[in-house]
Amino acid sequence: MKKLFLFAISCMIAGTSLFGQENFITKTGYIKFYSHTKIEDITAENHKVGSILNAKSGEMVFTLLMTDFEFEKKLMEEHFNENYVESEKFPKATFKGSVSNNETVDYSKPGVYNVTVKGNMTIHGVTNEVSAEGTIEVLKDGVKANSLFKLNPEDYGIEIPKVVREKIANDLEITVDMKYSKM
C-alpha cells in the first residue's frame, strides 16, 4: 500500500512538471512607449511587466501597473498617472490573447520565428481587440518575444487636452521586449 501511494504521488509530480514545462513566465518584461512630435519626444519605460506564454496553445497574457512606467520628467509621470490614465481608478493594463500562428513555432528548436499575436488589450478600463506583428525567439534556456506596434490613446478613452495636443503624438509607438523562462 505504501508503495502504491508513493507511486501515485510520483506520477502526479512527474505529470505536473512535464505538463508545466509548457508555460513560460517573466516578471521583469520590458514595455516602452514613445511619442514623437516636432515639439517634444516623450519616452516612458516599464521594467516590471508580468507575462505568461503557453507554448502548447500559444496563449499569452500580460499584466502591468501603470504606475511602474518611468518618465524622464517626474512631473510628467505624475500627470500621466493623475490626469491621463487615472492610475488610481485603473491601476492595471492587461493583454489576453494568443499567437495566431503558434503551430509554426517549434519551441524545442532554437531559432527566430515571425508571429502575429491577437487578443484583447485593456487600458484605462477600456478593452479593444488588437493585433500585432512580432517575433518569438526560442533559446536554449527560454523564449524571447519582441514586438513593435502603434497604439492610439484616444481608443482607450484617454483624453488629451487641446493645450498639450501638439506635444503628444496621435499614435504612440509601443516596444515590447520579453525574456521568458520555463515555469
Partner: protein, 317 residues
C-alpha cells in the same frame, strides 16, 4: 511477492496473471487520475496564474498635493530625485490699501528659491525673500508614504526643518548684536492623507524658535498647529486652504497685534508649471514670518493677493 504467496494446489501461472492484471489495471488507473489532475492544473486560467505569480504589489499614493507648498507653507510633497524646482513667490500689498495703491498692486514682495530632490525621499532648498531680506534654507525628508495593497499605510509623513537669516541692518547700531541674533528656526511634522482623488487633508504641528525677539515679554519659542487641504475642481485646478493656529503668539502689549495666518487659493497646473493664486493675511512667504509675524487681520481686509510659480526642470536623467 508472488512466490511467497504461492500455495500448493493452485496453478501458478494462472494465479500470477490474474493478480498482476488487477495490479496493472490499478496502477494504470492511478496514472490516469494523476494525469487528469495535472492537466486540470494546466487548464487553470493563465491570467489567474499570472496574477498569482505576480503577487500583490505596494501601491503608493501619488500627488497628494500638486506642489511642495499648499499655499504659504510646505505640503508633504517633495521634489523627486534629480528634479530642480525654481519657485517664484510673490505677494502684493493689502487689498484694503485703496485706489491710490491700486489695492496693493503697487507694492511687491518676492521670494525666490531653488529646490532640489537629492533622492525621492529627501529634498533641500535655498531662497531669498524681500521680507526682512531673509536668506533661508530647508531640508525635507519623507519617512512614510501613504500606500495600499501589500502594505497599508493610511498617511504620508514628512519632516521639514528650516533656518532663516534676517539680513536687515540693525535698527540700533549701539547695541551689541551677534550673528546668532539673526537666526530663526522652524521644525514641522507634516501628516497628510489623500482621502480621494479630489480631497487631501494635512496637519502640521509646528515649532518656531527665534534667537531674538522684539521684547523680553515675547516668547522665543512659538508653537502652532496647522491644518490645510485641497479639493480638486478639475484635473488641473484645485481649491486650497491653509491655516495655522498659533498657541502662544504674542504678548498683548506690543504695538502691532499679531494674527494666525490663513491662506486660501487655487492651484492651476499647466504642463511643466504649477501656478498658485493666493489670498492671505501674511506678507512673509516663509514659515518663520508666517507663524511669527502675521500682522494682517482678515476681518479688516488686510489681505494680500499673490501667486506662486513653480517651474520644474529634470536635471538628472
Amino acid at each position: 511477492m508472488t512466490l511467497t504467496n504461492w500455495k500448493p494446489g493452485s496453478t501458478r501461472e494462472n494465479w500470477i496473471t490474474k493478480r498482476t492484471m488487477k495490479k496493472i489495471v490499478f496502477y494504470l488507473l492511478i496514472l490516469f487520475i494523476s494525469g487528469i489532475s495535472s492537466n486540470l492544473l494546466m487548464a487553470q486560467d493563465l491570467e489567474d496564474l499570472l496574477n498569482q505569480e505576480m503577487g500583490e504589489e505596494i501601491t503608493y499614493t501619488s500627488a497628494t498635493f500638486k506642489a511642495t507648498r499648499i499655499l504659504n507653507g510646505h505640503s508633504i510633497e517633495r521634489m523627486q530625485e534629480g528634479q530642480l524646482d525654481f519657485r517664484i513667490h510673490h505677494r502684493f500689498g493689502r487689498l484694503n490699501s485703496g485706489a491710490y495703491e491700486l489695492w496693493g498692486l503697487d507694492q511687491a514682495n518676492i521670494h525666490l528659491s531653488l529646490e532640489y530632490g537629492l533622492k525621492d525621499w529627501i529634498m533641500v532648498g535655498v531662497g531669498r525673500g524681500t521680507y526682512e531680506k531673509t536668506y533661508d534654507g530647508f531640508i525635507k525628508v519623507s519617512p512614510l508614504r501613504q500606500s495600499s495593497g501589500a502594505r497599508n499605510m493610511p498617511v504620508s509623513v514628512s519632516l521639514m526643518s528650516g533656518m532663516y537669516l534676517n539680513s536687515l541692518k540693525w535698527d540700533d547700531e549701539t547695541r551689541d548684536y551677534i550673528f546668532a541674533h539673526r537666526l530663526e528656526f522652524v521644525n514641522q511634522v507634516l501628516v497628510a492623507r489623500k482621502f480621494s482623488n479630489s480631497l487631501s487633508i494635512q496637519l502640521m504641528p509646528t515649532h518656531l524658535h527665534r534667537n531674538l525677539v522684539v521684547s523680553a515679554l515675547d516668547p522665543n519659542d512659538l508653537f502652532a498647529m496647522g491644518v490645510g487641504g485641497r479639493i480638486k475642481l478639475s484635473n488641473r485646478v484645485s481649491f486650497n486652504a491653509e491655516y495655522y493656529h498659533v498657541f502662544n503668539q504674542q504678548n498683548q502689549f506690543v504695538s502691532t497685534p499679531l494674527y494666525s495666518p490663513l491662506a486660501i487659493g487655487f492651484d492651476v497646473e499647466t504642463g511643466g508649471h504649477v501656478f498658485q493664486f493666493v489670498f492671505t493675511n501674511s506678507l512673509s512667504m516663509t514659515e518663520h514670518g508666517i507663524i511669527g509675524n502675521t500682522t494682517g487681520n482678515w476681518l479688516d481686509g488686510d489681505i494680500h493677493f499673490g501667486f506662486n510659480i513653480s517651474r520644474v526642470f529634470a536635471v538628472k536623467k
